[in-house]
């Protein structure tokens, strides 16, 4: 039997026994593949209902508008309005304001997070593996913490009433109000860094472990210093991983929601109800009740997110090395 398999692992047993004739073998093969395909049916049925249908609904909803006749009394009438919602979205100062706010934040915070993650992965790579393993577990505790719990922890750490940070900075004569409009992005950025550096470091460190070790030896023989090896060999090797975690970071940051929402509980004057794009959409849908407009805003945001990550990916992967 094993011999048969080696010769032609894909040949069906029926064909083997009967000799030549392809037809029954092919039919048998097709039955096998059909049965195989049937394994994917439950998933893709649900996938259509819970992913494809919502996307189509978003597209169709965005083309309609619901208007209440008269002075807001009476029945609301839904009518086809073409690209009216998109036109409104393109001129929505608050929406674009929130998008710029978040984009600016991403431009500052993501490179900082990536640089720290890379530095940390390089540091870990230069100590004994067993020690690195133990340190890594401890450094992953923030990643293991649920996002809401992480936000709660920092909200209390920042709090002037409960947290130790305000008195700590007072020691140096700095009067820091972490909830003020000047510092709110620093506060949120630090919270995001705390939660994501561990994960990014893990990915980059994993990529570093895959670098063939003899390259380092040859570099050393050629007289390269450790710094030089890190910069000229290790960093180029982990580039792809860095690009990947950056794209994930961009996608996540543009859609930031729960962190600012929780901060809003503490400081509603600074964190307004349309502070980030998703908060604007959420507010349009569930406070204003305009689902059609919210759907249009979702599509615009999705396009922006897609465009930004695609551009970033293109730019960083264009020139190899």
């Amino acid at each position: 039997m094993s011999l048969d398999l080696k010769q032609n692992p894909l040949a069906p047993p029926a064909a083997e026994q009967s000799g030549a004739v392809d037809a029954p073998g092919r039919r048998w093969r097709r039955t096998v593949e059909l049965k195989g395909a049937s394994f994917t049916v439950p998933f893709f049925a649900g996938f259509v209902v819970f992913t494809v249908v919502p996307v189509i609904m978003a597209l169709s909803k965005s083309l309609y508008s619901s208007k209440s006749s008269g002075l807001g009394f009476g029945e609301k009438t839904v009518s086809f309005s073409g690209f009216e919602n998109f036109d409104r979205a393109l001129h929505d100062v608050k929406f674009w304001g929130s998008l710029w706010r978040v984009a600016l934040f991403a431009i500052v915070v993501i490179p900082l997070i990536q640089a720290t993650s890379l530095a940390l992965a390089l540091l870990l790579d230069s100590v004994r593996r067993r020690v690195a393993g133990k340190l890594r577990i401890a450094m992953l505790v923030p990643y293991m913490s649920p996002g809401i719990v992480a936000t709660l922890i920092w909200i209390y750490l920042y709090s002037p009433a409960v947290g130790p940070l305000t008195p700590f900075f007072k020691l140096f004569g700095i009067n820091a109000n972490f909830y003020s409009s000047e510092l709110i992005w620093v506060s949120v950025g630090n919270l995001m860094a705390w939660g994501s550096i561990g994960f990014n470091m893990l990915i980059v460190y994993g990529a570093l472990q895959a670098v063939p070790r003899d390259i380092f030896d040859s570099a050393r023989v050629d007289g390269a210093s450790e710094w030089r090896i890190a910069w000229s060999i290790k960093v180029p090797y982990v580039r792809r991983s860095l690009v990947l975690v950056s794209v994930l970071g961009i996608i996540g940051t543009l859609q930031i929601f729960s962190e600012p929402l929780l901060f809003r509980s503490m400081t509603p004057e600074t964190v307004t109800k349309d502070f980030t794009p998703i908060m604007t959409i959420y507010n349009q849908a569930f406070a204003v009740g305009d689902f059609n407009y919210a759907a249009a805003l979702s599509i615009v945001l999705a396009l922006v997110v897609g465009l930004v990550s695609a551009t970033f990916y293109k730019l960083t992967n264009r020139a190899p090395r």
Partner: protein
């Protein structure tokens, strides 16, 4: 090979890539690592310390060190407040997580297995759908999903949380990668020669060989479900159906609305919701570490 040889070699393997570092660069390396270690751990330490304090001590004592020990009183308060609603939230989160993730694991492992082991027509299109769906931002889906669930009459029922969780494209992708690595096609072929049907081959061979992969998929899915916030916030109304994360958020808000201060409860609640998930992830490190690196490098 003698034992000393073996030890020497292991010692060598254990050495980092860069040996002979100077004293200065070693000091720098360790300073960096220790500083970051403190940054990672100190906030959790603050949470643990705060959980042991009485509400008054929270405001009057140093946040990073213990005062009078009130952890047990606080825990009792947490579980008795509002007729033990917190316990209800914990149970909900657990039920949604287990039900949603068990279903998800079964469906996605079967689907990933088929995508890896069979060459049926349309397979390429299905793979394309999986990859393309990674690019759909969650933002796009939430609003129409709400309208869809309204039409399906599952808004404000556990089903709105459990059922959509079944269909995770990322899990299918992971399952496919695992199946390719774990199941030799010859083995399935041999089973066929021996007369096993495709379904039997999956349950007796495929599913068993994919145990590690399935465990990873389950773990990542469960953690995702436990931590999720936006879904429950949008789809659940009545507080009897809420999850822990949503409940903690509502307590944080109460402080604003009324003059009740639930800070102490939020802190103890946060730590109670943190401990099971960190314990789970620590004990199953091997699984999720392989999962996230696999998902990101392939």
């Amino acid at each position: 090979m003698t034992t000393t040889d073996a030890r020497a070699r292991r010692y060598d393997d254990d050495l980092p890539a860069g040996h002979h570092p100077s004293r200065l660069s070693r000091t720098l390396v360790w300073t960096g690592l220790v500083l970051f270690l403190i940054y990672s751990i100190a906030p959790v330490w603050f949470l643990i310390v705060s959980a042991t304090k009485s509400q008054r001590d929270l405001y009057t004592t140093n946040g990073l060190w213990f005062a009078d020990f009130h952890l047990f009183d606080n825990t009792r308060d947490l579980f008795t407040y509002h007729d033990g609603i917190f316990l209800r939230w914990l149970a909900n989160t657990l039920v949604y997580g287990v039900a949603g993730t068990v279903g998800m694991t079964v469906l996605c492992v079967a689907c990933g297995y088929a995508l890896a082991m069979y060459q049926f027509r349309g397979r390429g299109i299905l793979m394309g759908c999986i990859i393309a769906s990674f690019l759909i931002p969650g933002a796009l889906l939430t609003i129409p999903s709400f309208l869809l669930y309204t039409r399906l009459h599952i808004v404000d029922t556990p089903w709105a949380i459990i059922v959509p969780h079944f269909f995770s494209a990322f899990s299918v992708y992971l399952a496919k990668v695992y199946a390719e690595g774990a199941i030799p096609p010859e083995l399935l072929e041999a089973a066929r020669v021996d007369g096993a049907g495709e379904y039997r081959a999956f349950f007796t061979i495929g599913a068993r060989l994919m145990t590690t992969g399935s465990a990873t998929i389950f773990l990542l899915g469960f953690v995702g479900s436990w931590n999720s916030f936006f879904g429950p916030l949008v789809f659940l109304r009545g507080e009897q159906k809420w999850t822990v994360m949503l409940g903690l958020y509502s307590w944080l808000n109460i402080k604003m609305d009324r003059s009740v201060d639930l800070t102490g409860l939020v802190i103890v609640g946060a730590i109670v919701s943190l401990i099971p998930i960190v314990a789970l992830m620590l004990s199953m490190q091997r699984y999720w570490r392989s999962g996230i690196t696999l998902g990101s490098l392939k």
